[in-house]
Amino acid sequence: MTLVDPRRDPAAAAPVPNGFGPMLRKEDGRFVRGRGRFVDDIDLPGMLHGAVLRSPYAHARIVSIDTGGALAHPKVRAVITGADLERRGMAWLPTLSHDVAAVLATDKVRYQGQEIAFVVAEDRYSARDALALIDVEYEPLAPVVDARRALDPDAPLVRDEVPGRADNHVFDWEAGDAAATDAAFAAAEHVSTCDLLYPRVHPAPLETCGIVAALDPVTDRLVVHCTTQAPHAHRTLYATLTGIPEHRIRIVAPDIGGGFGNKVALYPGYLCAVYAATITGAPVKWTEDRSENLMSTSFARDYHMHGEIAATKDGRITGLRVRVLADHGAFNGTSQPSKFPAGFFHIFTGSYAIQAAHCRVTGVYTNKAPGGVAYACSFRITEASYLVERMVDVLAFDLGLDPAQVRRKNLLRPEQFPYRCATGWVYDSGDYPRALEQALEMAEYAELRAEQAQRRAEYERTGEGALLGIGLSTFTEAVGAGPKKQMDIGGLGMADAAELSVHPDGTAELRLSCMSQGQGHETTFAQIIAHELGISPYAVNVVQGDTDRTPFGLGTYGSRSTPVSGAAAATAARRVRERAKLVAAAMLEISPADLEWEAGRWQVRGDPAAGASLAEIARAAHGSLELPDDLEGQLSGRCVYNPPNLTFPFGAYVCVVEVDPGTGQVRVRRFVAVDDCGVRINPTVVEGQIHGGLADGIGMALMEVLAFDTDGNHLGASFMDYLLPTALECPSWELGQTVTPSPHHPLGAKGIGESATVGAPAAVVNAVLDAIGVRHADMPLTPAQVWSAMRGRPLRTDLAVR
């Protein structure tokens, strides 16, 4: 083996476990050199560039579109409008939520930023220039901006293209036992109610969405390089939409600069680029700019919730009821399991033993962009977790109890697992009190409460100084969808596959249907194979993101990779190991029953010196060794993993903030996060995932929001207005862990990608409100919002501030 130069490959030069444990990432070498390959880095010969003309209006009838000026531009090669697509039956595309969405607007525009025309030019500057040469005549219409007015009898109609549609109602959906819950409330000693908004936010990965579409004139295949978290699902969708059969489509997802759910959906710009490639015969690149990303692609949340919590006077929760108004924008385009119109929101009883619970969700159309499930939300568990964690604090506030005490009193106990909650989810495993106590201990909760009292007294005496707030969140996640019988996306069951081939020299290739957007699959999945086969992770080449080279599967979102693809990889490796056993038996001329697996080799029970390493077995399997008739040569295994249940990671978070009561400014002083995601394959990577989610929590709680003015103008259409946290708003995260393995996952692992994003916002909000002694105010808690809340007049954060 050649010596690794630590100045050229520091990751490989560092200690590498043959299995689980901290390990530096194999993928980092290219990124620190600037040699990652992202979609916009791709440059094909003769490539053209697309640009999208978008609506300045939130709601307007299109009277006419004149593309003549743009077509006269010397560098413009094509201008595509909705009328062109209509002739090919491509003007509307079916969404993943039983609706259709416009690709390019034909009749009217339904939100600001909606796609109207697609210009194809020889360079990107000319494509942009030509947008200004398209003349569109609009007849402005009154928009539906406030979701709470969307069902008013006089509300303008967003979807008047649907015959017979008379209102903006999308769906009603409920879960839980309404009657039992009503009874629990009727009998309750105490009921607290609260209206909460989880505002519209955006996943805003640093790399925007983009595509390079090309038709190979020789093979007549469509080759799409795209920022997609789900390459195989995209291939199926493209086939459905374009009529090109799947075997003539290749989707390649190269390096992806963050996804967070933003890169699950299939956007109009992609389809336009594909269409443009077919009519021009040239490769067409389209990369959206940041405003396009924020205005038109998958937003997240936008849940207006009315929560009610029933309890005894000493704080034991007896019922939870919630009514949700869900703003779905102009098209119902959520990317989620098709039988779950509100995603997994009905896990809203969270970590608590609540006997009676019921939710009712009503979706409405408004003149805003479609989307709704994105931003590390685990299919709306962010909203659910925020609801229950906030309601528990409201209850504590109303009863004058310590929020930690209320949680202790109501958390599920370890002996209750597996636990079927009031809305039917079966939690696989957990030890919630242990996580909470550990978090409180790390935070030094009692000391913090004492400091808080002292600071408040000081403030009341002098009018000076910062107030201290302590916020808790004890959340439960549910990740790793399917099972496919209950969960499908666009009719595709939520299973994932892995194929493992061991080469003749004992190194291996693992081909996956999931796709990293920064999660480190090349390392973590190599560690899974290393763990199962006793070889170095550096002996495993992980292939992902290319539909020509990987098996079919649903992709990476909803923290699915480890729960589903991780299980598939482990199972495939075990199948390889079992096959290796049979080959070894043939090599050693011994019964397989007499062999035992030990550190990468099959050896004879009782005679460890006699045996064969995986490399020797692989060589033999590819060689001339006579194998039993029922045993194929070579050494490979595959698995399509259909998860029997979700995995249920959980955690206990403590956020400590200081609030300047004179200005409303919040400083997050500390953040303690105890996470349990079962067995950790690479603890370093797991912690990195948590760090990122915690920053999201600060962002959503304190600054991120997509608000709209009364005309439907988007007020967060650039990073000047859609604020993301910087290093200065984030404290140094203090992490702790407990390990409660999942009983049904082959590795005992649970997903971790979204836990912190789900759990953190409530902790921050609870801390700020705790500091200022206010019962509730909606996110984001900007200085103005905190100051207004202290005066009893919190702002409506989804609308323009007046």
Binding site: R124, Y125, R128, D129, A132, T287, D289, S291, G662, T663, G664, Q665, L702, M703, A707, L715, G716, M720, D721, L723, P725, T726, L728, E729, T782, P783, A784, W787, S788, L795, A800, V801, R802
Partner: protein
């Protein structure tokens, strides 16, 4: 990605050359230095100049000079340069307070002091700071040089005393006579590091030997103060002892006489409150630095 429309480009070699180019090409020509205000506006096509005159290599426009009675800051001085100048921090600490909260280090590496004040964005921190410090602006034009006090420099949002055929040479910050106790400070409330101000205030105080306020300048940023200053609050304090009551009164006056507008950073009521609260705080900070408290 958002891109500017077409334009011509020329690099000016001297002030004289820049002025000649401005005269020759008329109002469709724009000067560019750091470009951190102009280029984003050009990308949004809110500005579409026909000619950009690059003044980054005009030597006369650079440099910070500190004399006995003033600090001279060339229009082309980058924010980082001003922040790195320790003597400025000692003589006019408010400028360092303000610079520290302007945008971010990379923007400060490129953006210029002159560009910031000439943009005259109502949320520009340096506008409030220089106005509080009673700086003056030296402006060159076809008819030669002229000097305009900062209080008189801003003609409204995005409008200044610098005419279309003129350019800003430098800002000069007067220093108080030696022996007088003086202090200044600037504070900003923002939604996040690097964001424009929700509201900000700066104060410069000079104390007379008897401990009364000999002179005071109070600047307000993003709070709808006329010419970025709270003159009524200044008038209340001048000649008075800076007691807590006097400071409170100044804060009230600052709040009362500004005209903030509501936006996503906050409602009018809150911004008006900030005008008062921040005025009080920066006055206290400035006095502390002057050794007056």
């Amino acid at each position: 990605m958002q891109l500017p429309a077409h334009f011509e480009y020329q690099r000016a070699r001297s002030v004289e050359h820049a002025l000649a180019l401005l005269s020759r090409h008329g109002p469709e020509a724009r000067l560019i230095a750091g470009g951190h205000s102009l280029i984003p506006m050009m990308k949004l096509r809110l500005a579409q100049p026909e000619l950009l005159i690059d003044i980054n290599e005009v030597p006369e426009l650079g440099g910070i000079e500190i004399t006995e009675d003033e600090i001279r800051i060339g229009a082309l001085v980058r924010h980082t340069q001003l922040l790195d100048c320790a003597e400025v921090g000692r003589s006019a600490p408010m400028l360092h307070d303000a610079e520290r909260v302007i945008a971010d280090p990379l923007v400060r590496n490129r953006g210029t002091v002159g560009g910031s004040v000439c943009q005259a964005d109502p949320s520009e921190d340096l506008s409030g700071a220089f106005s509080a410090l009673r700086a003056v602006a030296d402006i060159a034009g076809p008819a030669g040089e002229r000097t305009v006090p900062m209080r008189g420099f801003f003609h409204g949002p995005y409008q200044t005393a610098v005419g279309p055929d003129e350019l800003l040479l430098r800002l000069r910050v007067p220093l108080p006579a030696p022996g007088l106790r003086t202090g200044s400070a600037y504070r900003k409330v923002s939604r996040r590091a690097g964001d424009w101000a929700v509201g900000a205030a700066g104060a410069a105080v000079t104390l007379a030997p008897d401990g009364t306020v000999a002179e005071v300048g109070i600047g307000l940023t993003a709070l709808g103060a006329r010419e970025f200053v709270a003159t009524e609050a200044e008038d209340l304090l001048r000649g008075q002892r800076p007691t807590p009551e006097a400071i409170d009164a100044a804060g009230r006056a600052a709040a009362q006489h500004c005209e903030p507008v509501a936006d996503q950073r906050g409602p009018v009521e809150y911004k008006r409150h900030l005008a008062g609260e921040l005025t009080r705080r920066v006055l206290r900070d400035a006095l502390a630095r002057a050794g007056g408290r």
